[in-house]
């Protein structure tokens, strides 16, 4: 059944930054809907190294866990050792560090996708400029947009755009049209599945 919005799965994000409180904030209670699948998601802004041992606890509460590192060292740590489903950088401001193929490639090898959020650029011109620049750099560093997903981080419904529009936007940044379509639909489905598997499935040797 095709949903009127154009999307089949929507995730509600809770952004947590700074020190995690000892009682982790619970996800919002989601209504049920017959055509949309609703998930909860947490974006943790990494500012220092001390919070990392609580990531498993956090990922048990939410369906998807995304990390937002703020420095190059934290990016390297997130890409190579921390357990998460996505790495989402804040592309609406100028990144203080350059993206390198070595770090981003390591994340892709582990199965972690990199996320580009486009909603900040809808209204703010400076954010739009930074987003285009950062998105183009990410696409160059991932050698053609492998492992990149697109999402809005919309706080209001006006900042949301239909899937075809998002695909066109990605083509503008430099992705090829197949990769752009994959970024909005295929890869996202992979991310959701992988997140589910990580929480529910157990790997074992028979």
């Amino acid at each position: 059944t095709k949903s009127p919005v154009g999307y089949t799965t929507v995730a509600f994000t809770t952004i947590i930054s700074g020190k995690l409180p000892s009682q982790l904030p619970p996800p919002p209670v989601l209504p049920t809907h017959n055509s949309l699948k609703l998930l909860t998601r947490c974006t943790l802004v990494l500012t220092d190294h001390s919070q990392n041992h609580r990531l498993t606890a956090l990922s048990d509460l939410y369906s998807i866990l995304a990390l937002r590192p703020t420095s190059e060292k934290l990016l390297l740590q997130a890409c190579s050792s921390l357990e998460c489903d996505l790495i989402s950088l804040d592309f609406s401001t100028r990144l203080p560090f350059p993206l390198k193929h070595k770090t981003v490639g390591a994340a892709l090898l582990r199965g972690i996708s990199i996320e580009i959020c486009y909603s900040a650029s809808i209204t703010d011109v400076t954010a739009r400029r930074n987003l285009i620049q950062n998105a183009a750099e990410l696409i160059r560093v991932t050698r053609g947009g492998r492992g990149v997903i697109l999402s809005s981080e919309a706080r209001q419904v006006l900042a949301l755009r239909a899937p075809e529009d998002v695909i066109n936007l990605a083509v503008l940044w430099g992705l090829s049209s197949e990769k752009a379509r994959d970024a909005v639909s295929g890869r996202c489905r992979v991310v959701v599945r992988q997140a589910e598997m990580r929480r529910k499935a157990y790997k074992g040797v028979v």
Partner: protein, 397 residues
């Protein structure tokens, strides 16, 4: 023990290259050993240089450095009997004119073949037999811009007084009469004999008379110019762990490791070029550098602070000599005590002539191949191999 890692070349722009089976690294095969370079830069950590400086300055290559002349003369001087008979008919010389390729007329004499790269007007006025050059010509209006004239002066049709000789002489006197700057090097083994002072007793074979022009512009020898720079960031020259230039299979992980190695090799190449900027190393690699990331995000990976010594040799440096020089240096580095040898690395950048119309193997070159036959070599520390970067592609046949 065999040196490890034979790295093979690829088709990219600047790529690490083969080691010769003899163990002497060289990006140049035997054809190129006739080649000449305008400048060679050698870089070493200062600690290592201080240990070997005496032996380096007294190594065989530097004890007998090559010499060259810088002549200012019109082209017709080469047709004068003393020059013609001594150097063109019997000896072996290299003569390169100063002039930008595809902009001005340039002349090059090597292996007895005189090559001229001329523009349309000069070519038509000179009346010599030539063909349109492969590069520098475009469609439409630019179609017949540059011509290449190739004359084999050693062939029997070019004797003093013969028809071809006179034709060339007439062209030189009418069209090429302006004195040009030439770089001249005498390649023949009897070089030393020709330039000895007359007081020495004559050898069994009488030394030929030195052409007057060479006495006018005396020989220059290549002397090393040694500079050192302190407080420079130096990388560790170690490839990232698990990365490798080739092999490993077709999996995504293996591909990732290969890409990481290639990126590392290119970063080292970029670092060497920053280190060898003409006057002094770039500001970005100084230890005390702190630049706003808005202007530059360049950073040297796993760097430590050290000081660097640069030995610069400029002039007309033969490629064979460069090969021997590098061989001497490697011998000295191997002779270092154990703990120093671990940290020892050495780099050598060999520059190329940009404006020569023909490359060393006789193939044409265009003005857009900007680096001539330049290459870079780096001996990695800790029994690492030697990496060679050679620029491929560009406007050459």
């Amino acid at each position: 023990m065999l040196r490890d890692a034979r790295k093979t070349s690829g088709k990219e722009e600047a790529t690490p290259q083969h080691l010769q089976p003899s163990g002497t690294p060289s990006p140049i095969d035997n054809d190129w050993l006739f080649n000449y370079n305008p400048q060679v830069d050698l870089i070493l950590p200062t600690g290592i240089h201080d240990i070997i400086s005496q032996s380096l300055l007294s190594c065989p290559s530097l004890v007998a450095p090559p010499s060259y002349h810088r002549l200012v003369m019109p082209l017709s001087t080469i047709l004068e009997p003393s020059f013609f008979n001594t150097f063109i008919k019997s000896g072996n010389i290299l003569l390169l004119s100063h002039g930008r390729l595809d902009v001005e007329n340039s002349f090059c004499l090597s292996d007895g073949v005189l090559r001229m790269s001329l523009d349309t007007e000069t070519y038509e006025r000179a009346g010599l037999q030539g063909k349109p050059s492969k590069f520098g010509n475009g469609p439409g209006l630019m179609k017949r811009r540059r011509f290449l004239v190739e004359l084999n002066l050693r062939s029997t049709s070019y004797l003093t007084g013969s028809k071809s000789f006179n034709r060339l002489k007439r062209a030189c006197d009418t069209v090429f009469q302006k004195p040009q700057v030439f770089l001249f090097a005498d390649l023949s083994p009897s070089n030393c004999a020709a330039l000895d002072p007359p007081a020495t007793p004559p050898s069994a074979v009488a030394a030929p008379a030195t052409p007057e022009i060479l006495n006018q512009f005396p020989a220059r020898t290549i002397t090393p110019q040694i500079d050192s720079f302190s407080d420079v960031l130096v990388p560790s020259f170690k490839a990232p762990p698990n990365s490798r230039p080739h092999g490993g299979g077709k999996s995504e992980e293996a591909n990732y490791h290969r890409e990481v190695w290639r990126d590392w090799a290119m970063e080292i190449y970029e670092y060497l070029s920053l280190l060898l900027l003409p006057s002094r190393p770039a500001d970005r690699i100084k230890a005390a550098d702190s630049v706003d990331t808005y202007l530059s995000t360049y950073a040297v990976d796993d760097a430590h602070t050290d000081s660097i010594t640069r030995i610069r040799l400029s002039g007309l440096v033969p490629a064979r000599w460069v090969n021997e020089f590098w061989g001497n240096l490697e011998g000295l580095l191997e002779g270092l005590p154990e703990d120093k040898a671990k940290m020892a690395w050495a780099g050598m950048v060999v520059h190329g002539f940009d404006d020569v119309p023909v490359g060393p193997t006789g193939k044409e070159r265009g003005s857009l191949e900007r680096c001539g036959s330049a290459y870079t070599m780096l001996k990695l520390p800790e029994e690492g191999a030697v990496m060679v970067w050679d620029l491929a592609g560009g406007q050459s046949e």
